[in-house]
Point group: C2
Chain length 341, copies 2
């Protein structure tokens, strides 16, 4: 039986993961859950973000269901780096998966774009690039100060995430992969990405390909997001592009994500893209849709493809059935989706 | 009398700079122009992008009016790095200025956003960060290959561009500056930017400030671009954010830019954000609005504030007077704006 670690986290995080758990239970009874109290509370009490013993326990699970991390009481970056990024690196979660779909019942800020028209997935590299923490500072607090950040890219790391993107594209209708980078400026890393992309592409003759600079892609995601199917890109570009993709598909209300170790040597983390929203925490009014869609990605990762599909469809139907402007109750959304799967 | 070097460049570049020149002549008679034939033609003929003797001549001008560079016959990156970026670095053009305004007569892809509502300027650092070309590759074409890119940030470089942003904000109605970075991941550079920002902000008590991570800012530029006044950011983030800002203000048709050396020790370059558009080159149908607006930025930089304002207003009026769908003639747009200033 699958073992899932639940890290509700801060703010609305615990409220939305509770609904995701409810839905998993409805579609796949018998899952074993272990709850871990990580986030601002633990940090403020103990000064620790992720004790080694807890990380060791997490490693023994099939997947991690995460709510949201972050609270105004904690300096920015501490929990993100100490928990989210640490898990991505320590658990080799090199495929950061972010689907963006314009669902019926949601509306895009873009004029004239209709539900169904946008359906893309960004495959973002998760363990390299500018996220590795390489860099430093010299002559701090003097006029001579310099600070550096280094982007590290390996053929190993680049090729494996590109291969994952092509494998996904192969299973999709349009079978198209767009590589996004900035090869005209970041020539060294860009060249490595381009060559690895060409090499993997030659293994997938049925998949069509395209290259775009990150600035052009950022513009096209606004002017013509319909054109994208699978987008593969580096860690930092992926961070930016996925937020634009979320914005044009109605904001982060429906944005799910997975930080995936495809080989399942380590557990993968699934979480909504939204934050802990301290302002509405505890009121039972947070929308759990993105958390439940993240649970669907989790099920897919565990090989439960039919269950994943049923959850995704139930969320889509629930969202489409909402009366615009009507108040939303977190638990009722979870109940309705759980009943429908 | 002002001396302006004109680099029309490739494709529609020469067509649109001709109109910009026409408008400058109408508003400020007596300017001395020198035309330089740089771009794909020179490169294909000689293998050179910017001969040292030409760069020395350019240095003797008050400003450079540039059209567009780039042609399918030249490998990507060669002209960009050899000309555009080289001028930014060699002429210390550390303020990369990109205003975005939703003009009457243009329409945003964003539903319900009306002309006048978006009016922001991105002050992008132009001489540091990931654009410095620091990096390399090891074990190329082997499975052990690694490629690096390094972002270099100096207190000197960061502080001077932030100071420029505050000075601009001080002269604007809303007097608001947003710093965009990724301090939670790029901790070394982010910390330098944050401290420099706080230090300069303390010199401008009338200017309100805000910080956003680049992913959040990319989203808000789509969901709520109205909120921004002046945005200051690093070289790469600025490249991305300005294309999003251009997209939400109706694409690159009206996007002007300046690569500015504020001290005027070196000439500054002014150019439309759009490319050389080889597909419509030579037909006389390219829209010169962005090039003429770039000329207005040039005039402003030379201290001709009244002339700059008149050119900007004339372009705005011309664009507002267009019949949607009617064919556009490059020279006629230039004539109408020149007549109106
Ligand atoms: C919280 C932050 C470190 C993280 C990132 O930059 O990856 C977040 O923005 C995300 O996209 O998951
Ligand atoms: C052409 C390219 C090198 C350049 C940049 O990245 O700065 C362009 O995108 C721009 O924004 O001016």
């Amino acid at each position: 039986m699958a073992r899932i670690a639940v890290v509700g986290g801060d703010g609305i995080g615990t409220e939305v993961t509770a609904q995701a758990r409810k839905v998993i239970d409805a579609v796949l009874p018998g899952v074993v859950y272990n709850e871990y109290d990580l986030g601002a509370r633990l940090y403020n009490r103990t000064g620790e973000v992720l004790p080694q013993s807890v990380e060791d326990e997490l490693a023994g699970h099939d997947a991690i269901l995460l709510g949201a991390i972050g609270d105004p009481s904690v300096p920015p970056g501490v929990l993100e780096r100490g928990l989210l990024l640490k898990l991505r690196f320590d658990f080799d979660q090199y495929v950061n998966l972010r689907p963006s779909k314009l669902w019926p019942g949601t509306s895009s800020p873009l004029a004239g774009v209709k539900p169904g028209e946008i359906d893309l997935v960004v495959v973002r590299e998760g363990t390299e690039g500018l996220y590795v923490g390489a860099g430093g500072v010299l002559h701090k607090n003097t006029p001579a100060e310099i600070a550096t950040e280094e982007s590290l890219n390996t053929r190993h790391g680049v090729e494996r995430v590109i291969r994952d993107a092509f494998a996904r594209a192969q299973r999709r209708d349009r079978r198209h992969v767009t590589l996004v980078h900035k090869t005209n400026v970041l020539t060294h890393a860009g060249n490595l990405w381009s060559r690895a992309f060409a090499a993997v592409a030659s293994e997938y003759p049925e998949v069509t390909t395209e290259y775009q600079h990150v600035d052009a892609a950022s513009m096209f995601l606004v002017t013509n997001p319909q054109r994208y199917d699978v987008v593969v890109t580096d860690n930092l570009f992926g961070d930016i592009l996925t937020d634009i993709a979320a914005a044009v598909t109605g904001g982060i209300g429906m944005a799910a994500s997975g930080s995936v170790n495809p080989e399942r040597i380590y557990p993968s983390t699934f979480e909504p893209v939204h934050g802990s929203a301290p302002d509405i925490a505890g009121k039972g009014i947070a929308d759990p849709a993105a958390a439940i869609l993240s649970a669907a990605l989790l099920l897919e990762h565990l090989g439960k493809l039919d269950e994943a599909r049923r959850v995704t469809e139930a969320v889509a139907a629930e969202v489409a059935s909402r009366t615009p402007g009507a108040p939303l109750r977190t638990a009722e959304v979870g109940d309705r989706v759980a009943a429908a799967v």
